[in-house]
Each structure stands twice: as structure tokens, then as C-alpha cells.
């Protein structure tokens, strides 16, 4: 049996990636480690000293609370950026997709290759963070394995809709704005650094509507073995829906742009 087409397209991404893996070590290992040490331990000491953490953090120390959230935020940031410049550039600057379309690959398969690659990259990033968490006794658990799956899914839920957008763009003007008005606020308000119950009443529903919060909840509950059936199904359904709808739209954009 020959290799499925989308995988052949994915191979091209992977080959390029091997030469820049160092960037990823920084983004998915060193960076979360620094946040964990800087915020988890340092701010954690202040939080835990204040005596309020028990009530607010559901019995977790601040370090324990923060750590799993970084799985989801890292996946979000890596996946979102992978879905912006590389996708636009594949059409506009390097014409990578156009040259792929000149081979027997169909636009659907090319889009599929991009999607697989984004999942791979999210997964690599999440594994990096999970490795960091496994270094500390407080966050070391078998649940990390499940959290890797959830984190990767979070990445997919961001990569897919953003790819659909990027594939229709002619310039990168909107990307800094996406980072500034979507990614950064989610990073700060998405429940990774403190429970969203602390947000003002009007902001809480917004936070719940974002994919990041669902990813954070899944990862945190997985690590501390607190997954409950129905909430878990709800979170998963939401993230899977976003990923699937996003990719259907992305594939349509690829078709439109590559079959002019």
C-alpha cells in the first residue's frame, strides 16, 4: 500500500522542521519551565502565604494550579502561530502549496497535510511541557499522558479556524491583531493563571466560550485525576467541533485558492 497523500505532504513539513527544532525546544520546553519557575514558584509563594489559595484554588497549591494550564496555553500559542504566517506564506511568499498542487496531490490532501503537521507540532510542544511537569513531584502523574492528548486537541482547535482565515488572506496585517486581541487575552484571562470565577461577571461567560478554557480544564483535571464524565464530554465535544469545522473551512479555502 502506498503512503497516503496527506502523509506525504506532512513529510515535507517534517523535513523542514528538523532543521529548526531548536526553536521549538525554546518555545515548548524552556519557556514553560521558566514560567513555572518564575510564576509557579515565586508568585506561588506569595499566593500560598496569603492563605487564600485553599478556597480559590480548590485545594491545589498555586504551583499545582498553574502547571497544567501551561500545557494548553503553549499548545495554543504554537498552533496559532503555525496557522498564521506559515499558511499565508505557503500561498503568498514561498508558493509551497502551489508547487505541491502541481504534483498529483489534491488541495484537500494538501490542507490535510497542513492539518496533520499542525497537530504534530502542537503535540511536540505539549510533550515538551509535560516533560517539564514530570520533573516536579507535585505535578508528576499518569494523568499527564491523557493531558498530552487534551493539550494537542486544544492546539488543533486553534490551528484549524485560524488556518481557514489565513488561507484567505493576502497580507499578514491581521496576524499581530489576532495575537494581540485573541491569543494574549486568552493567555491572561483563559483560566490558566487563576480561576475564571475571579473574573468580573460579564467576562466569565466569554472565558467559558473560548477553546482555551476548555483545554485548561481538561488538562488540569487530567493531571490531578479529577475528570468527571459529562463535563469532560462537553469540553471534548466543543474542541473537536471547532477543529473539524475549522478544517472543513480551511480545506474549502485551499480548494478555492489552488484551483483558480
Amino acid at each position: 500500500m502506498s503512503t497516503p497523500a496527506a502523509i506525504r505532504s506532512w513529510e515535507a513539513h517534517f523535513t523542514q522542521y528538523r532543521s529548526v527544532w531548536k526553536t521549538n525546544v525554546m518555545g515548548s520546553f524552556v519557556q514553560p519551565l521558566l514560567y513555572l519557575l518564575g510564576m509557579g514558584l515565586g508568585v506561588g509563594a506569595l499566593v500560598d502565604d496569603s492563605g487564600r489559595s485553599d478556597a480559590l484554588l480548590d485545594g491545589l497549591t498555586y504551583f499545582q494550579f498553574l502547571a497544567p494550564g501551561l500545557l494548553a496555553t503553549t499548545a495554543m500559542m504554537i498552533a496559532a502561530n503555525e496557522a498564521m504566517w506559515p499558511v499565508l506564506g505557503g500561498f503568498k511568499w514561498w508558493k509551497k502549496f502551489h508547487s505541491e498542487a502541481a504534483t498529483p496531490l489534491t488541495p484537500n490532501e494538501i490542507a490535510g497535510g497542513v492539518a496533520l503537521w499542525q497537530i504534530t507540532k502542537s503535540c511536540i510542544a505539549v510533550v515538551g511541557v509535560a516533560t517539564v511537569l514530570a520533573l516536579f513531584p507535585d505535578t508528576r502523574s499518569w494523568g499527564l499522558l491523557l493531558a498530552i492528548v487534551f493539550g494537542t486537541l486544544t492546539g488543533a482547535a486553534f490551528a484549524a479556524p485560524i488556518s481557514a482565515w489565513s488561507a484567505t488572506r493576502d497580507g499578514d496585517y491581521s496576524f499581530p491583531t489576532i495575537n494581540r486581541f485573541v491569543i494574549t487575552p486568552l493567555f491572561l484571562f483563559g483560566g490558566a493563571f487563576y480561576p475564571i470565577s475571579q473574573l468580573p461577571d460579564w467576562m466569565e461567560p466569554i472565558a467559558i466560550a473560548t477553546p482555551l478554557w476548555h483545554g485548561v480544564e481538561l488538562c488540569r483535571n487530567a493531571v490531578y485525576d479529577r475528570l468527571e464524565f459529562w463535563p469532560t464530554v462537553g469540553h471534548l465535544a466543543y474542541l473537536v467541533t471547532l477543529a473539524v469545522v475549522g478544517w472543513v473551512m480551511a480545506a474549502r479555502s485551499f480548494n478555492r485558492r489552488l484551483t483558480l
Binding site: K22, G38, M39, L46, S50, L56, T177, L188, F189, Y194
Partner: protein, 270 residues
Amino acid sequence: MSLIDVAPLRIVPPQIRHARRPQRMLERQWMVNRAGGWIIFVTGFFEPLFYLLSIRVGFGALVGDVDDGGTLIPYAEFVAPALMAASAMNGAVYESTMNIFFKMKHEKLYDAVLATPMTSGDVALGEILNATLRGAVYSAAFLVTMGALDMTGSWWSILMLPVAVLIAFSFSAIGMAATTFMRSWADFEYVPAVMLPMFLFSATFYPLSSYGDWAWIVQLSPLYHGVATMRGLNTGDLSWAMLAHVGVLAALAVGGLTFTARRIERLLLP
């Protein structure tokens, strides 16, 4: 001959001292922004808002008050000036590394500029001022937002703005000096590798005393000196030590500038 040749400034090399038209680079940036780049500039104002809000609603409630050299102050008031210092640093470094490199290697901007009577000193100083200005605008946005959210502790906090400008200038100069060593985009991985630890470990989010015996390492961070000064001004708790912090920043500014001027000619005029 002129103010520029006053003795203490002699340590700055002649390329910079004899720069006569650095403002032309600012003029160019103004024309660029006028033609559309201003959107990115304006949206930059939201960043402080997001950070400050998350500090207030999130961390503030978790931490409560924090012990700042003997007095208890609300956590938001403790962190806000540090974030402002970091924002000045980030704006300046981004502009003086990535943007400069892009203009140098891809747009070949400086090749075109140096074919005119503009000198390498004009370009270096002009672009450092440009990055400083960007840092200063972000800082001003930060200060206004802090005031609006009632996170300023005293009227001294207005002086945080000039200190932020000094931070931006120092980091622009250092950033530009670093850029003269960059060979390709791959080298820019080292920028966040330096910036992030500095951001997290410059007594930004908790007092220097938290570091215990390791506090001396924190004091090696240039950002720490900015943070310490800004924090003192924000609470209105002034001390002589702040002058030393400002001195460190000024020394870095002169050092970075001197270094850049020596390197820039070799880089731009082979």
C-alpha cells in the same frame, strides 16, 4: 565646539557624536506610520490594559497585599510599575532587533540611506531613538492605563515616564548592538531566550527578598534596576539607591551606544 563635544561625552565615539541628522530616521518612521502602520501602533495600547486587568482581577485577589520593603501594598500596585518597565524594554528590543534586521537585510533600507549624506552614526542613533520612542509611547499608554485603573500610588509616579524612556533607550542601544552580531533569522531565537528570564526574574512579580541568597543574580539583570526605580517612584517611597539604579541604566545606554557605533560601520559599510 558645541554641546556635543563636552568632555563627559567624549567616551561616545565620533560616529555618534558627529551624527547631525538622526532625526531623519524618525521622520521616515513617521511617514511610514502615517501610511498605515499606525493601526499596529494604536492597538499596542490594549496590551497594557489586558495585562493590568489580569493582574488586578486575577493575581491581586490571590495574593492580596505584598511586603515591599516593610510596607504592605496591594499586589496590583506592586506589579504594575514592573510591567511598565518590562513593556518599555519589550517595545524597544523588538524594534531594535527584529525590525532593524528586517530593514537591514531584506529591505536594504540602510544601503539606500547611506548613499546620501546620512552617516552610519545618523542611522544608528536615529534608529535607537526610533526604538526609544516606540518604547516611550507604550510606556505612556501604560502609565495612563495605570492611572485610569487607580494603580498609581503617588504623584511621583509621573516620573516613571522619563525612567521608562531611559529604560527604552538603554535596551534599544543594547538591542541594536546585539543585532550587529546576528547573521540570520535563526539567531533571533536567542532574543526571547534572554528576554523571558529577564522579564520573569527581575523582581517583577515578587520582592527581591523572595530570592533569598540568590538576590545578587537578580541584581545583575538590567531590567531589575528599571523595576526597582519605577516601583520606588510609584509608591513615592524614594531612596538614594534609586539614583544608583538610574546610573546603571545610563551606563548601559552609553555602553550600548558606544559599542553599536563601533560595529555599525563595519556592518553597513564593508
